[in-house]
Symmetry: C2
Subunit: 344 residues, 2 copies
DNA sequence: TTGTACGCGTTATCAC
DNA sequence: GTGATAACGCGTACAA
């Protein structure tokens, strides 16, 4: 089955290629009859324009790309709906692109930039470990969403939308302390994590300090080698091991909601109850937490507002070339049934 | 920031463009020194080849695309890992592409086919409503994964990997019957669903008939207008409404695991217990079901095997042009804690 | 309103 | 081993 091109269509219609081009791109200067004829031939022969050729030629393309790191994060799914809605409201095209765990999202962005002639990029999730030089190679306006910056990167070179992970983790742990918990296990990211994993751990430490509770290394539960730190399986595994060790604790604070489901399961499997025997708190505020039993106490990131703000900043950069902005949102402590007071 | 092209690199190195092309594409006939020189200039100047131009010129590209309908389905996430692994094992490139809910996946596939010079396509999820003519327009080998075919489509024109949704739904409902359940509510897809929603409902009917239990329309719970039938919110909403109506039932069978979490939540919110007051069964076998409390009784689709078989069939079509195959897998009834026997 | 011709950045086919 | 040069399919000045 030979591929039919714009030339073939032109020949079949007895017109020039530019006329066909005008027809498919809704250009004004074209005779309606000619256009109709062309469109009919196109649909009869199932002509499909080649996007590579189009992108090669085009200058602008009015498309915004979302580069999403990791595929299975339900937290992102809720944001993407809004990001997409906002992009299309502005009459721009929307391109969702996955970045593999071992890929460098900036490299991917640079390729896409040239390939699709993007006019804006949103980075959703991923590492903070990029150097300033790396960011500078991007020629398109972009916004980091739920990603912090390295300290040595000049904030002026990019925009971001995020929460204060240190502060919000601290709030959650302080909340647990206020309910009488002192032995709070922290289900952590990898020990070498320099992104949000590190920040949430820092918040945990700060809260303990503020509440005059000694930091106990044996209460920080790191994933085993090769385990995805943000998986339910990890939460289950480390909690099981911890419970077997008989180190005392009254509460678990997991680095994400997803992980906390694994924590809960391990507690149940050990024949214990939530929250009677152990309190469990998560982080993110994904939908599943509300459906879990008991409902999960968590720190909810305001993903709708964050998504909207992300696009607002991006479009202001696209349209007005204004300076970069860094917006930090407040998270919301959602009290569920998974945490209880243990002291009057 | 001007974009640097292959010509610029050639000029900077004092060589011809074809030599640069040879260098970046790992062609054999090139002097190692020349190549090294070129690669150095490339990395210094951050040259990035334009993929549009490459795809335009290239004949083959040894890439397999996965077209995934819907982004949030956790069942697919587990398959994608394996699909990707298998593709890369064969030294092909892997391209994951999302299809919006309102897009036609075949149209998307035809565009991508031309744009990226694909050599194989996997359709993951989506509708069964395509005509034979539509399928014929695809020039690339493809496999439908977890998608059934319309009855009027000649099975010889495509390959597929799936389960027998009618049969497996029937098995689940028969299982519930065998435990003494007679009033089993079915949390259904949209009434006009012609895909798996319809098939699973058909299985439900057949099981009732086999067990000499009358089919009661009031036990089929359809989503409200505008609701995503496969969402937790839908499960919650219809179950809540049903419980409020006081129509008696002892068990719920939901069209997917995700929906069943909504069902459970509504039951808990009504002050009832699972499985003491109501049994709940799902369908798919996603990871969350094992972490839920109680663990979810479900019909597990063997996604690893299905993913592997999908790629096996696809590569046999790509490499040998063999005929099409249709493989139907057996699902596995996983007994969790969400279902109980109510009769000796 | 329409057609011709050129160029987008790359790879492939030749000669050398 | 290397360098011109012709495509690839399309959009768009520019001429008609």
């Amino acid at each position: 089955m030979e591929s039919i091109t714009i030339k073939d269509v032109a020949r079949l219609c007895g017109v020039g290629v530019s006329t066909v081009s005008r027809a498919i791109n809704n250009h004004p200067d074209i005779n309606p009859e000619t256009k109709e004829k062309i469109m009919q031939v196109i649909s009869e022969h199932h002509y499909i324009p080649n996007n590579s050729a189009r992108n090669l030629k085009r200058q602008d393309s009015k498309t915004v790309a979302i580069l999403m790191k990791g595929i299975a994060n339900p937290f992102f799914h809720e944001m993407i709906k809004i990001l997409e809605y906002e992009v299309e409201k502005k009459k721009y095209s929307f391109l969702l692109h996955h970045v593999e765990e071992d890929e460098d999202e900036i490299d991917v962005a640079m390729e896409l930039e040239k390939e699709k002639k993007l006019c804006g990029i949103v980075f959703l999730g991923g590492t903070v470990g990029h150097t300033e030089e790396k960011f500078r190679q991007l020629t398109t306006p972009f916004v980091l969403c739920t990603i912090g910056l390295r300290r040595d990167v000049d904030p002026a070179i990019c925009s971001s939308v995020s929460i204060d992970d240190v502060k919000e983790a601290r709030r959650m742990v302080s909340y647990l302390c206020s309910l009488g918990h002192e032995r709070i296990a922290f289900v952590a990211a990898r020990e070498d994590d320099i992104a949000i994993g590190r920040m949430r751990l820092e918040g945990y430490r700060q809260a303990l300090e503020e509440n005059h509770i000694p930091f106990r290394p044996e209460l920080v539960l790191y994933p085993e080698k090769g385990m995805n730190a943000y998986s339910m399986a990890n939460g289950y595994q480390v909690t099981k091991r911890f419970l077997d060790s008989n180190i005392p604790a009254t509460a678990f604070f997991a680095i994400s909601d997803n992980v906390s489901f694994g924590v809960c399961k391990a507690i149940y499997d050990a024949g214990k109850r939530i929250p009677e025997d152990y309190s469990v708190a998560g982080f993110d505020g994904i939908e599943m937490g509300k459906y879990y039993y008991p409902t999960l106490t968590t720190m909810r990131q305001p993903c709708e507002e964050m998504a909207r703000e992300t696009m607002k900043i991006l479009f202001s950069r696209i349209e007005d070339e204004k300076g970069n902005k860094h917006k930090v949102f407040e998270a919301e402590l959602q009290e569920g049934g998974s945490v209880r007071r243990i002291k009057a």
